[in-house]
Each structure stands twice: as structure tokens, then as C-alpha cells.
């Protein structure tokens, strides 16, 4: 195909004023081609601009995706750390409870032990009373022996003088034994009283109450810790869910961005169709000036351009994005062989 160029503004004015039919058609076609050139430039600019926008959008979405991925990674790491800390806290908490239980039981144990020691001591002291009684009995018998010896000494006269001294010594021994028995009995009684007083001063009941309050505080602290952990866990799950949803939405946005490529290809087909049509139109003025020219050739060429364009558009028939399998004659959007 050849092209017909139109001259300057003077030629255009002359042809428009009274030129031949071919000249006027040449003007018409020239303006048409220039208009198409301008439209074509705009369409290419649209394609370029939408591509630039789509690229910027993908980059933005990419940054968002990276941030979401990083956040999920951070949360995953936090979950591991929290798990480790929670296990440590659980062990610590269990230890505290164990100590609390021990403290709670300790006063009772002490009370039992101290009471046992007291009872044992009292029993032992009570056992010593027997010895005191034995000493008292020996004292009584010694006393009787001293009296008898004294009587015997007086009946034997002078010969009994030495025996009388012995009787006096025996009496003295008896009196000292009696005093010793009294002192031992008094000492044992004092020991019993001192032990009872010491037991009374240990305030075991008050300590039990204090220990119970301590255990109660430990259990309250454990319950508060459990509440905090549940609260944290619930928030962690919510954030993870939102991030997963965000990642899914980002993925879908990226799918929608593909529409830019669909539009770009459609525009390219339009531009190719326009270019082919204009190639035919460029020959029209020359053919009109030439009486021997066969205009049907151009008509055939133009029809071929039309059919080519329509066929191309049919091959790229738009399919709704939400139809996995389009009805009727259209092919399914997705097909595995």
C-alpha cells in the first residue's frame, strides 16, 4: 500500500475550496489519519499509564505483603518466646504453690511436733516422780532405822555410845534425803510449768492464720497470671487471624491487577486494527483520482481488516473473573488436562 501525503496549509485551502473530489477525500483522509494518530498516542499513553499504576500498586502491595509476612514472623517468634516464658512461669507458679502448701502445713506439723515433745517430756518427768517416791520411802525407812538405832543405843548403856553417834548420822542422812527429795520434786514441777509456758508462747494458731493468708495471696497471683495469659493468647490469635486474612486479600489484589494486562492487550489489538484500517484508507485518495483504479480492492482489504479484528476479539473474549466454569459455549477459565 502507498501513502498519500497532503501539502501545506495553502494546498489544503485550495483543495478544500474547489479541488477535485480526490483532493477533498485526501484532505478528509489526512485529517482522519492525524486524528487516529492522536487517538493512538492517547491509547498508548493509557496503556503505559495503567501499566505504571499497576506496577506502583504491585510494589505497594509487595511492601504491604512483606510487612504482613514480617509481622506474622514476629508473632510466630513471640508465640515461641511466650510459650517458653509461659512454661517457665508455670514451673515457677507450681513451685510457689508447692511452697505455699508446705508453709500452710508447717504450723500444724510444728504444733504436733512441739506437743509431742511436751508430752514426751511430761511423761519422762512424770517417770522421775517414781524415783522421788523411792527416795522419800528410803528416807522414811532411814528415819525409822535411826530411831531404832537410837533406842538400841540407849538400852546398851555406855557401850552404846558409839552406836548412838552412828544413829545420829543416820538421822542426819535421812533429813538431808528428805530435803533432797523435796527439792527434786519442786524442780520437776518447775520444769513442767516452764514447758507448758513455752508451748503457750509459740502462738502456733496465729502463725497458721498468717501462713494461710500467704497461700491465698499466692493463689490470687497465680489466677491473675492465668488471666493475663488468656488475654494475651486471645489477642495473639486475633492478630494472627487478621494477618492471615490480609495476606489472602493481598493475594487476591495481585490477581485483580492482571486485569491491567487484559486491558493492555485489548488496546494493542485496537491499535493494530486502526493501523491496518489506515493503511487501506491511505490508498483511497489516489484511487479516487485514478479513473482506472478498482475501488473493490480497497473494499476487500478493508473487509479483511474488519474480519481480522473481530476474530481477534472473539479469540480473547472477556470471561467474568468470578466464573470458574463459564456457561454455554465459552471455555472454562481453568482446565487441567
Amino acid at each position: 500500500m502507498s501513502t498519500e501525503s497532503v501539502g501545506g496549509e495553502a494546498d489544503r485551502a485550495a483543495w478544500a475550496a474547489g479541488g477535485r473530489q480526490g483532493d477533498q477525500v485526501a484532505l478528509l483522509v489526512d485529517d482522519h489519519l492525524r486524528l487516529d494518530e492522536s487517538i493512538g498516542e492517547q491509547l498508548r499513553a493509557v496503556s503505559h499509564d495503567t501499566e505504571a499504576s499497576a506496577v506502583a500498586l504491585i510494589e505497594g502491595v509487595g511492601a504491604l505483603s512483606a510487612a504482613a509476612t514480617a509481622l506474622l514472623g514476629l508473632l510466630g517468634s513471640s508465640e515461641l518466646s511466650a510459650g517458653a516464658m509461659g512454661a517457665g512461669a508455670d514451673r515457677g507458679s507450681a513451685s510457689i504453690v508447692e511452697i505455699g502448701n508446705f508453709v500452710e502445713e508447717l504450723p500444724d506439723l510444728l504444733k504436733t511436733s512441739v506437743g509431742g515433745v511436751h508430752d514426751a517430756a511430761v511423761k519422762e518427768i512424770g517417770g522421775l516422780d517414781v524415783f522421788v517416791k523411792v527416795i522419800v520411802e528410803i528416807t522414811e525407812q532411814t528415819k525409822v532405822l535411826a530411831i531404832n538405832a537410837s533406842i538400841m543405843a540407849s538400852t546398851v548403856g555406855r557401850a552404846g555410845q558409839a552406836f548412838k553417834v552412828i544413829a545420829a548420822e543416820v538421822r542426819s542422812l535421812s533429813e538431808r534425803s528428805a530435803k533432797a527429795a523435796t527439792m527434786i520434786a519442786a524442780g520437776l514441777e518447775a520444769a513442767r510449768a516452764a514447758m507448758a509456758e513455752q508451748l503457750r508462747r509459740t502462738h502456733v494458731d496465729a502463725q497458721i492464720s498468717k501462713a494461710r493468708r500467704l497461700v491465698e495471696r499466692v493463689r490470687e497471683a497465680q489466677a491473675a497470671y492465668e488471666d493475663i495469659r488468656q488475654y494475651y493468647k486471645a489477642h495473639f490469635e486475633a492478630v494472627t487471624e487478621h494477618n492471615t486474612k490480609l495476606a489472602r486479600e493481598i493475594s487476591e489484589i495481585l490477581g485483580q491487577v492482571q486485569q491491567q494486562d487484559v486491558v493492555r492487550q485489548r488496546l494493542e489489538r485496537v491499535l493494530v486494527g486502526m493501523s491496518q484500517r489506515n493503511e487501506v484508507l491511505r490508498d483511497l485518495p489516489r484511487a479516487l483520482r485514478d479513473p482506472s483504479a478498482d475501488l473493490s480492492v480497497l473494499a476487500t482489504q478493508m473487509h479483511a481488516v474488519l474480519e481480522g479484528y473481530v476474530a481477534g476479539e472473539k479469540r480473547h473474549a472477556a470471561v467474568p473473573a468470578d466464573n470458574l466454569a463459564a456457561p454455554s459455549k465459552a471455555l472454562p477459565r481453568i482446565e487441567l488436562f
Partner: protein
């Protein structure tokens, strides 16, 4: 080890968007702007687990790429998905005959694409 996917498309937006979606799902992604470039990468030693290719591209289109890939040693059974705006049965049948594994018409959402990939790449 992450699976490797080769994306072949002359559209910058297609390559970027599919690459981002697949990388986000844990795949390693290589890209090529046309069939010729993709073939060069495969001959150069890249061994993807899956190839996703457009059909209409400059220099070498998707149909010729499928034909050439199936002729390369070690690439006979690697799955190849077409991702195109073409929606005619003749083109689809031609791709199938040449050895394509599946036919996807643009646009395909990220979740949808991942679902298909899991079907053709068990364990992915």
C-alpha cells in the same frame, strides 16, 4: 526445600503480580519476558518444578515454547500451565496437543492460582 517456578510473560504487571503471589506462598520464582529467554534459561541449567507461560509474546510465543521444552532432555514431564487471555478451544487444544498441563484464562486470583499449583505440584 521450596519448589521452583518459572514465569514467562511479556507483561511486566503479570510477571510482578504472579511472582509476588507465588513468593508470598513460599515458592522460588524465576522470570522470563518471552519464550526465547525462557528457553535460554532452561538450557543454561535452571530446572523449575513448574512453568507458567503466556501464549502471545514477542520473539517466541507460548506454543513454540511448550514444543521446544518438551523436546529438551529432562523436561518431558515437568508441568506447564498456560496463563493467557486467549479463550478459543482451538488454541487450548493446540496447547494440550503440544504437552501443556493446564489452560488458565487471565485474570486468575492468587488463591485460585495456588490451588491449581497444588494440584499439579503435589506436596507444594
Amino acid at each position: 526445600m521450596p519448589k521452583t517456578i518459572l514465569i514467562v510473560d511479556d507483561s511486566v504487571t503479570m510477571v510482578m503480580s504472579v511472582k509476588l503471589a507465588l513468593e508470598g506462598a513460599g515458592f522460588t520464582v524465576h522470570t522470563a519476558a518471552d519464550g526465547l529467554q525462557a528457553l535460554g534459561q532452561l538450557k543454561g541449567g535452571i530446572k523449575p518444578d513448574l512453568i507458567i507461560t503466556d501464549i502471545n509474546m514477542p520473539n517466541m510465543g507460548g506454543m513454540e515454547l511448550i514444543k521446544q521444552v518438551r523436546g529438551l532432555p529432562g523436561f518431558r514431564f515437568i508441568p506447564i500451565l498456560t496463563l493467557t487471555t486467549e479463550s478459543q478451544a482451538e488454541k487450548r487444544d493446540e496447547a494440550k496437543k503440544l504437552g501443556a498441563t493446564g489452560w488458565l484464562v487471565k485474570p486468575v486470583g492468587g488463591a485460585e492460582l495456588l490451588k491449581i499449583i497444588k494440584q499439579v505440584l503435589p506436596g507444594a
